[in-house]
């Protein structure tokens, strides 16, 4: 059985799923992540699904479960990089991905984790200056 690697970057655990996961691999990832959150004390989990060409109900449920487990363990989960065709298919399949935060890419996912932590913190956190993104995104 293949195992999905979990990388620690600062306060965040990054999981980039690069293989077509069997159900067992998906369940193993769920367990591995829970253990790593506790072992590292990380407050954010980013799951990059850029390489996934489908998300079926099993993987969808795994993502929801990971988000719930992380929440209980005081970590925020953000799923990033969902392909448009995957999003269209998920909606038609009837999966709502309850409780899952999403972002378009890893960078925005990290911003979302930081913002979520800042919101919950009783102290004032200075957010990194993210004003004036000069890039145009092609929207009219």
């Amino acid at each position: 059985m293949e195992r999905v690697p979990i990388l620690k970057i600062g306060d965040i655990l990054l999981v980039s799923i690069q293989v077509d996961m069997s159900d067992q691999t998906a369940l193993q990832l769920q367990e591995d992540l829970a253990e790593r959150i506790v072992a590292t004390g990380c407050h954010g989990v980013i799951i990059d699904i850029t390489a996934l060409d489908i998300v079926d109900s099993f993987v969808g449920r795994m993502l929801s479960t990971i988000a719930s487990i992380s929440k209980v363990l005081d970590a925020e989960t953000v799923v990033v990089g969902m392909r448009p065709a995957v999003a269209i298919t998920l909606v038609e399949l009837g999966l709502s991905l309850n409780g899952i935060r999403t972002a378009l890419n890893v960078e925005r996912g990290m911003e979302l984790v930081a913002a979520a932590r800042a919101d919950e913190s009783p102290y004032d956190h200075e957010l990194a200056d993210e004003s004036d993104e000069a890039e145009t995104t092609g929207s009219p």
């Binding site: 159900d23 060409d53 079926d56 099993f58």
Partner: protein, 139 residues
Amino acid sequence: MTAGVDLGQPRTQAIRSDEDVVRVRQLVRTVAVAAKLSLVDQTKLVTAASELARNTLVYGGGGAVEVTTVDNGLRRGVRILFADSGPGIADLDLALTDGYTTGGGLGLGLSGARRLVDEFDIDTGVGKGTRITVTKWAR
């Protein structure tokens, strides 16, 4: 009944394990690409196949899948047959209801897969096993 002429030999894959479900996805993707389904249609068909292959394994106790390219004179498509000799489905209407499950899943496999394809045929009965045929046509 579903219309359409078979093109070429069907490709088969046994479903006996988790890893076979992955192989079914890969096989269906290969055939869908060759049949020139759009990316969204490929994604829908592979997702439906993943749900149905898992059902064949979990509820049917394993079985086999047969993937064929078909042509109805107007369009090309991909047809997939999932067959098992498991216990069969006693109440089909209930099994096709969103959220109904006997296996601890989300209950979206059968009903969701039906929404993702163009044609969906099911032949089942208690003690008879289950045969599900789905077709997705290129647009």
